[in-house]
Structure formats: C-alpha cells, structure tokens
C-alpha cells in the first residue's frame, strides 16, 4: 500500500482493518498486515476498507454554485466550446455526474469530457454502472433532477446514457502519474488531501499542476487548502465559493 496517511489517522487503519483481520482468522491487525505482504488476494478488500466512500449529489453545493455561476461562464466567455474535467477520488461517481448534470441543465451548448478516478476497483465499477439505490438518489439530488436524468431500473435508478457517455471512470492512485486525457480545465480533488501528510499533499498538488490547463480551476474540500503546502496556487473567490488557480496563469 503506497498511501501515506497523516499521523493521527492510524486509528482509522486499526478500526477499519479489524473486521477484515477477524474474518481472515488473524490474531490482530498487525499480523493481518504482515500477511498482506504475501497474500495479494486481500489487497482490494483492504483498499475498500481504508478508503472513505461517503459522497452525495452536488456535495457541499458551493462548488457547484461556483462552477455554474463563475467557472463555466468564464470558460465560455473565452470562447471554449469543450471543457475537460477530472473528478479525482470520485468514489461512486456522484461528483462527476453532478458536473454533467450542471452542464446539461445550464450550458447545453457546451460539450464535456469528464474523467473520474478512484483507488478502489469496486467503486470505479459502481461509478461506471451509473446505478444508484433509493437511499443514494435521496442524498442531495433534487426530485426534479432525478426524474429528468435517471430511469428507474428495478430497485435502482440509472443515470441517462447521454450523461454517462460524457464520463470515463478509471482506477487511479493519486500517488502515481496523473491520468491521461488532460490538460483539464477543472479538477475536483475534494476531501482527500486531508488524509495525507504534508509531503504527500505537496506531491499530489504538484501532479495536479502538471495536468491543469492554463487558467484551470481546482476545487478542494471545504476544510482543505493549498496555503502553506504548495505556494504555486492562489485562492480565488468564485460566485460565493473558493477555488484555486495557479499564480502564473493570472499573469499570462
């Protein structure tokens, strides 16, 4: 496992791996981890247990208000007809599809390609399927949007094919080279840096820089910042929310 956790988050490892250790018949989490070095079969289960897959539609609202009220209108004003988005640590895909819904609702002339990436095979598969339970569609998705962009399919709700076609989901580790398909005009990297130590945060932000289009926009989680970590970025107010842009881009 190449992930580097911030100190103080060790309890997460302990509490999330304990059930796996028990079901594997290990005496404790430490001996389970030692066993993992030789037992590759358990690796996916460990990734699932350690990654936080909590998500919702239009999560936190403010980033989507900024996207709709400022970021996308600015790109259109610059003559852009096509926008590329990277939804990093996308979990089961709600963020990526929320971007697609925002564009379909308010900027129908804009074409879009979104890359959604996550460390976990299981959630990438779920995101790709675009099928959500009733509980999941209740979370943050206005009913009018639900009926407009989803079709009921047995117990699940399935995202409209025309939106799903705009999104590609891939397995990706934020500690590796960024996914191909860039440069990206907009990168969502929300609520994931909080789990890393400062050196890893800096590394991840540098990799994001390398695939950000000139003038591109980075969205971080509400509790996250680049300040004191990577000074190439600056915080910019955008339609009531905060986004990050590269300083050079402003001078250009």
């Amino acid at each position: 496992m190449p992930s580097r956790l911030e100190s103080g988050k060790e309890y997460l490892v302990e509490s999330r791996l304990a059930p796996l250790a028990r079901s594997a018949g290990s005496a404790d989490v430490d001996s389970y981890i030692r066993g993992l070095r030789t037992n590759v079969a358990h690796h996916d289960a460990v990734v699932d247990a350690l990654t936080t897959n909590e998500t919702s539609w239009f999560r936190d609202r403010a980033p989507f208000t900024a996207l709709k009220g400022s970021v996308l209108p600015d790109l259109i004003a610059k003559g852009r007809r096509h926008v590329k988005v990277w939804s990093a640590a996308c979990s089961t895909g709600q963020e990526a599809y929320s971007v697609a819904i925002t564009v379909a609702d308010d900027f129908p002339a804009l074409t879009l390609s979104i890359v959604g990436t996550d460390l976990s095979d299981r959630v990438v598969e779920r995101a790709r399927a675009g099928q959500y339970t009733q509980l999941e569609v209740n979370r943050g998705l206005p009913a009018a949007t639900l009926v407009k962009y989803f079709q009921r399919s047995g117990p699940t709700f399935e995202i409209a094919p025309r939106l799903r076609q705009q999104v590609t989901f891939r397995k990706h580790n934020l500690l590796d080279a960024p996914p191909v398909g860039g440069p990206y005009d907009v990168v969502f990297l929300r609520n994931v840096l909080i789990y890393f130590d400062v050196a890893t945060k800096r590394d991840v932000l540098r990799r994001v820089r390398s695939v950000l289009a000139p003038g591109g926009t980075l969205f971080l989680g509400a509790a996250e910042t680049t300040i004191g970590i990577d000074d190439a970025w600056e915080r910019v107010e955008a339609a009531g929310g905060s986004v990050y842009r590269l300083k050079e881009a402003k001078a250009a």
Binding site: Q134, L135, V137, N138, G140, P142, A143, V147, F150
Partner: protein, 113 residues
C-alpha cells in the same frame, strides 16, 4: 391518528410552511392532497414534500407536475430529510422574498428508518 381530510388539518395551522406528505393515506391520497392544496391561493407559499415508498418514475413526475416541490423516497435518514427540507425551503424563501416564521408539520403515517 384519526382519518381527517389533510386540508382540514392544515386549516387549523396557518403557520405551517412545510408539509411532508405520504402517498398512501386514508380519506384521500397524498397526490390528491397536493392537487387540492395547489388550488388554494392562501397556501401558495407552503412547501409540499412527498415522503413515500412510492418511487416509480411517473409517480414522481406526476407529483412534481401537480405542484409538489420535493420528493423523498423511503427509506430515508434524518440527514436526508433535513437536506431536502432545507433545499426546498430555500426555494420557498426565494419565492416569498420575505421572512415568515413557521413550523414543520407532518401528515399521514410516515416514519424514518
């Protein structure tokens, strides 16, 4: 709960700003109630939120078309109810453009999980 027309219940509480409405109820269905409530000028500002196990696509479309603002499919969590209520009350606030004090009312037999 005795079976009373929801409109009569609502008349007794003029300070209500949000109704959570089940689809399947005695006396009249939640859908019929939405249709009836939307005919009343004095209830224009009340937010109507369906909260029901009925989750078919065309039922949601019908309820929204009849004038329901939101639609929550059971099961739900307290967090989902608050989020949906906040979302629709924010719309309501924009519509009214003035402050009004009010409470939450529920009708029917809905229960969270």
């Amino acid at each position: 709960m005795t079976a009373v027309r929801p409109s009569i219940r609502l008349e007794a509480h003029p300070d209500v700003v949000l109704c959570c409405i089940d689809w399947n109820m005695p006396v009249m269905t939640g859908f019929e109630f939405v249709v009836e409530a939307r005919k009343r000028q004095e209830w224009r500002d009340i937010t109507l939120m369906m909260v029901t196990t009925e989750g078919e696509h065309d039922q949601i479309v019908r309820a929204l078309a009849a004038g329901a603002h939101e639609y929550v499919i059971k099961p739900f969590t307290p967090e989902i109810m608050l989020d949906k209520a906040r979302g629709s009350l924010a719309c309501w606030t924009r519509r009214c453009r003035h402050e009004r004090r009010g409470g939450l009312a529920s009708h029917g037999g809905w229960r969270g999980h």
